[in-house]
């Protein structure tokens, strides 16, 4: 494999990691607020905070890792994205900042504050919407390069079916992934009333997820026919993803094997995400940056890959330790520790 392919694969893997862990977090915020409004908060909110408290900072680092790595491997992306994303990027930063810090602020106080719960829920949906803009504009057609540098065309962005379908897909996927995870976590905690509730959420959000995926595909064929054609060539990959989706929903519907169901969800997204990524190539940002044209120098790429491998030796054992303490430690999950 060439350096640039190693680089983009690693980054894509971490973006996928962020997609999963952040979706759990963002969706949980929405469900916590929703439960409060429908007076069911006593059922699930403890469960949610037990899982989230120790891990939110780690979730954030996944994101930081992705964008720092992207700039490192592909410095041209810093130029094009930096120039064009000032406003959506800044909005995303503000939302992330409000969400992260207020989560910590409230952690030792009460969870009763209505405004706080509202912010926590609303940011959970707005952040994915804002962040997904970066993927949207990478399809091309939304930015132009002029004498004065690169500019984002807001008119195009807000009137395009593709960008709205991506936003819609991002939001429903967040809710789907999150509810699927919470069902698993509730099951481990042996918390039947909570399980009952989040299982219903999971079933509810499954069909919008698949519908949104389809509409996004259709919109893509308008926005970037070349990319659409490459995706069609990889049709079997997306077929596998749909198969995992059906398996996950089936298991949840049966009320059995929640762990396997969540693994099926992770595989569903893994396969689809890599299918999307593979068909996106050779362009990183259509038509300005390509994989091989935008990559950094060889010496830097080698250095980054070496650091990455060394870093994994540090990271994987630590992550395993974290998960054993808070995800797989039955007593902790049940609230006995």
């Amino acid at each position: 494999m060439s350096y640039e392919l190693v680089g983009i694969s690693v980054l894509w893997l971490f973006l996928y990691g962020y997609l999963i862990v952040a979706s759990i977090d963002f969706g949980a915020g929405f469900f916590a607020y929703f439960a409060k409004v429908t007076k069911k908060d006593h059922i699930i909110n403890k469960l949610i905070s037990r899982y989230l408290s120790p891990v939110w900072e780690v979730t954030n680092v996944f994101f930081v890792f992705f964008f720092v790595g992207l700039i490192g491997f592909f410095p041209d992306m810093a130029y094009y994205f930096g120039q064009s994303l000032l406003i959506p990027g800044s909005i995303a930063i503000v939302l992330l900042a409000i969400r992260g810090s207020f989560y910590a602020f409230e952690n030792y106080g009460s969870k009763e504050n209505h405004l706080y719960m509202f912010l926590y829920g609303a940011t959970g949906l707005l952040i994915p919407a804002a962040l997904s803009t970066a993927l949207t504009i990478s399809e091309g057609g939304y930015i132009k390069e002029t004498e004065n540098g690169v500019q984002l065309m807001y008119g195009e962005l807000f009137s395009s079916p593709y960008s709205w379908s991506v936003v819609f897909l991002a939001i429903v996927s967040v809710l789907y992934i999150s509810s699927m995870f919470l069902a698993y976590y509730a099951k481990r905690a042996g918390d039947e009333p909570a399980l009952d509730l989040v299982r219903k959420y999971a079933l509810f959000w499954s069909s919008p997820t698949i519908i949104a995926s389809l509409t996004t595909f259709i919109a893509l064929s308008q926005q970037n026919p070349e990319h659409f054609q490459r995706a069609i060539d990889l049709w079997w990959v997306f077929g596998i993803s749909v198969a995992f989706f059906m398996a996950a929903v089936f298991l949840i519907y049966q009320g059995k094997y929640y762990g396997w169901a969540f693994i099926a969800v992770m595989l569903q997204f893994f396969v689809a995400f890599f299918g999307y990524g593979a068909s996106h190539l050779p362009y990183l940002l259509y038509p300005y940056v390509t994989l091989s044209g935008g990559v950094t120098s060889e010496s830097m790429a080698v250095a980054l890959i070496v650091v990455f491998i060394a870093g994994l030796f540090l990271l994987i054992p630590s992550l395993v330790m974290l998960m054993r303490m808070f995800l797989f430690d039955a007593d902790y999950v049940k609230g006995k520790k």
């Binding site: 930081v64 720092v68 120039q83 800044s90 909005i91 503000v94 030792y108 500019q151 950094t296 990455f308």
Partner: protein, 451 residues
Amino acid sequence: MFDLDSATLSRMLTALTLGYHAIFATLGVGIPVMISIAEFIGIKKKDPHYTLLARRWTRGFTITVAVGVVTGTAIGLQLSLLWPSFMQLAGKVIALPLFMETFAFFFEAIFLGIYLYTWDRFKNPMYHWLLSIPVVIGSTLSAFFITSVNGFLNTPQGFELEGDTVTSIQPLAAMFNPATPTKVFHVVSTSYLTAAAVLATIAAIYLLKKKNTLYHMKALKVTVVSVFIFAIATAIAGDLSAKFLAKEQPEKLAAGEWHFETEEGADLVVFGTLNENQEVENAIRIPNGLSFLAYGDFNAEVTGLDQIPDDEEPPLWIHYMFDLMVTIGFFTLGVSLMYLVFWKVKKWNEYHPLLLWGIASLGPLSMAAVEFGWVFAELGRQPWILRGFMTVSEGATTSPYVGWMLILFIGLYIVLSIGCVIALRKIFKGNPAEHELEHRYPEVAATKEGN
């Protein structure tokens, strides 16, 4: 509404975010060290007061760390959003430490999560203490990596520029540039110093409020002793930084010291004002002091501003930033030394209100010194963003919306500050140390409490 150009507005927004992040980053590097020290003493002396100290500091730390993380994420993204051309160029050369920093973040975040939620999970408390070590290492490493990036901006090396293309890139040479050693030493030591000083301030204020409990006295002791040690390290590191400047970045030192003519045996100008002919008035002059500061030799020759092209001269008012920083450094050293003397001499009272007021001022002053130091260091690099290669205005975004973003972020930092203060008050007001001591360690509270 915004008459300023994008480059100026980008500077203001960067300064705002970095200046704000610096507060929490400094605490983020230093407080884990203090927590680790207190927990260790608590275990070794079997003294629950120290353990409680570590526990309560940790709880406050969760709040400041959160602001550190979110503002750090902000600056990380803003670097590309506001300085796209600069990041495109510099990213090719200096990506390595930035990337390594994310691993340091991972390491710190993971172990902090574990540390916070496992206080009572282990039979042997030493295991819990051991978890603080990776947190200390992780946060100090992130200071190391980011400071080496900043060093690169001041003394870039490890690449060649041919027209617009960068070639012969050597990532390690860029990372270990001439500025890295002294800068890292100074930034790390001042972070430790500032964290200790802020915690000392808190202890001193409680004692001034006549809450003379053993708990607060012990808190004062451990923090002020740490302040003293870290203040010595800071002064040494600061002196080394000045020597580094004399050698590698003479224009910054010359502007900071108002040193106009290259000469041997140069005087050190302390405070003072400039008249319209650029002559120094009202200053204290330390004969041959600058030569000594710069080279450790009273007669050495020090480069003056006459050797620097006029359009590459940093702004002269950074002189005050330097002087304030150094003054605070020596004041901190003096006050903490006085506490030690009063404590060792049995007849003298180390809890004298005047001394306590002095200690109480150290936290805010150190934090101010950190800010002054950064302004000095960053403005002393003007007009360069990458010294010798790219000016600040060449690196900036051309987007017309930077002004609005500046307003947006001012709003954000106001909200964060208010939230942070409210959260800290809620944690500590509702649950004073005395109550918690009684609650957690009833046996100690019953026997040892009181003056």
